[in-house]
Amino acid sequence: MNYQYPDERGHFGQYGGRYVAETLMPALLELEQAYAEARQDPEFQREIDYYLKHYVGRPSPLYFAERLTNELGGAKIYLKREDLNHTGAHKVNNTVGQILLARRMGKKKVIAETGAGQHGVATATVAALFGMECEVFMGKEDIRRQSLNVYRMKLLGAKVIEVTSGTATLKDAMNDALRHWVTHVRDTFYVIGTVAGPHPYPLLVRDFQSVIGIEAKQQLQEAEGCLPDVAVACIGGGSNAMGLFYPFIDDLSVQLLGVEAAGFGVATGKHAASISAGSPGVLHGNKTYLLQDDDGQIQHAHSISAGLDYPGVGPEHAHLNDIERAQYVSVTDDEALHAFHQLTRLEGIIPALESAHAIAQVIKLAPTLGADKIILVNLSGRGDKDIHTVAESSGVELL
């Protein structure tokens, strides 16, 4: 297999593309051009490498989860520790790349959308680092759920803009960020937080996150002398998954497994499993799988994890699903919570609720595989931000 996507217009098979208002078209063409040049420039890559190493703390470790492996009694489980990055999640890999690109393009202001607040924090962080003005759009509902991250962003000097339109969650934050961008497109760079949005965002976010899979591949080679049998990651928009999957895409022996949020259960209709239970449509600048009704109106997503609470998915995942290069499954809120506790107690690692979805799938999968098999799972973030949510779910009241 020689995988070559997207095409020059940003399509992954029938998905992706650039479905935006005319006002934004020139900005996207300019961004595409600037990125094409940056991608060829060794100096740009050196700059990214420098900040990833000295600022983010890369490479992140690949950790053999021995006690979890023994408990489950099957395949060996390796955790890619993105939770140990500066700011506590994989999101910063992307914001470092995009802010350096914004600087190259001479932009002075950045905006971002955020759900869990991780991408907002990662954007506010690099904006502080480079002295740029930063505004973060966040749904009212998410501001309530993720108050800790809201305060972190404010400490970092960002302005957090409360979004009350629609369902007041991530999709609406993205709508308002796009509306703001339409109005301020001449001097503002929009830092999108996942492999979604109009071309070239799915491409450049994938590129910036691919450091996850590149490192993991090499680290596993050193530890085990082989490729993993399965690579597992949770799917919100799909950036941590794309970053893990992409460097393995031509290694057909490696199964790529994306884990969506099943919320209360796919059958209840209250979930965020766009690939497992959605249908193709167009939202936020790209064609992809969406949760929508028969009339093409976007439906509410539900997940206990704010970072997965999105009714769409990056277009490349839609394509990988259709060509069957990757498989997509879903786990419920309860399964994710159970996995959260199990990883915490067995390994002393408190995962983000997003990442706990990937762990939950590993808990199901590992016992079905032999001890000679290897599962590589992306631990996309740490769980400090979710402590209140977890406590609430256990009926514990924190001050």
Partner: protein, 271 residues
């Protein structure tokens, strides 16, 4: 030569009278589809030359708060794309005014592109304006529309580079829609002088009329733009009246009054 479309015939007649087209925008289904039918006929009686009918969408990313709220009201009232097409079919029995559906691509895509084009033609739709479907992505629908004589209206913006304008303006159908400011609908104050420069330039690049919209809210705005544009689109200001009067008895008289004022201002420009 093929017979003139309703859009072409309307602009040709206006040109003869040296008049600028008044193009009101309303959201189909706000406050509901039944009242929307009455609003459309009221608009025609008060002097509307063409009408843009918004197809409500849950995520109207190019719209400001006024049209977002209007979309939400229409959806809450149960409006669907097939309901909008029925509305068009119904008012088409009573008026020949060109009706342009305006909205976002997803409802059309989910309806099924072929089925949509067939049903739109049958209902009497004259044009389609999809805010988030730039020409680069339009290949799956534009040939079907073209064959059926439904114009796919092209939007151009202040940020559009001149070379791109030339390319898109040369192949435009129906009329060109120039977005009067860098922003969402119902945005901040417009600058008629900047718009004039762009529109004058644009007119040299195309055979179709040039309409201007986004941010035209008063009779004075409409007249300022009407001195050089072939058409002016008034959306949010009208939608605000619909929001204010809802299903009350004052609704239709208030709509008629506002539109008559706009039309009066525009016709006074020629005399």
């Amino acid at each position: 030569m093929a017979t003139m479309s309703r859009i072409e015939a309307t602009f040709a007649a206006l040109r003869q009278r040296q008049e600028t087209a008044l193009i009101p925008f309303i959201t189909a289904g706000d406050p509901d589809l039944k009242v929307a039918a009455e609003i459309i006929l009221t608009l025609v009686d008060a002097g509307a030359d063409l009408i843009e009918l918004g197809v409500p969408f849950s995520d109207p990313m190019a719209d400001g708060p006024t049209i977002q709220a209007s979309s939400e009201r229409a959806l809450a009232a149960g409006t669907t794309l097939s309901g909008v097409l029925q509305l068009v079919a119904e008012v088409r029995k009573k008026t020949a005014v060109p009706l342009i559906l305006m909205g976002y691509y997803n409802p059309v895509f989910c309806y099924g592109v072929e089925r949509f084009v067939r049903d739109a033609v049958a209902a009497g739709v004259d044009g389609l304006l999809l805010v988030d479907l730039p020409p680069e992505e339009a290949a799956e629908i534009s040939p079907l529309l073209h064959e059926s004589g439904v114009a796919l209206i092209t939007l151009l913006a202040p940020t559009t580079p001149r070379e791109r304008m030339q390319r898109l303006a040369a192949v435009a159908e129906g009329y060109l829609y120039y977005v009067s400011m860098t922003g969402v609908t119902g945005g901040q104050k417009i600058s008629p002088e900047d718009i004039r420069l762009a529109v004058d330039d644009l007119k040299g690049m195309t055979n179709v009329p040039v309409g201007v919209g986004f941010g035209i809210t008063t009779v004075a705005d409409a007249c300022a733009v009407g001195t050089f544009a072939d058409g002016v689109v008034v959306g949010s200001a009208l939608v605000k009246i619909i929001e204010k009067y809802g299903k009350s008895e004052e609704l239709l008289p208030e709509v008629a009054k506002f539109v008559a004022e706009l039309k009066g201002g525009l016709t006074a420009l020629t005399s």
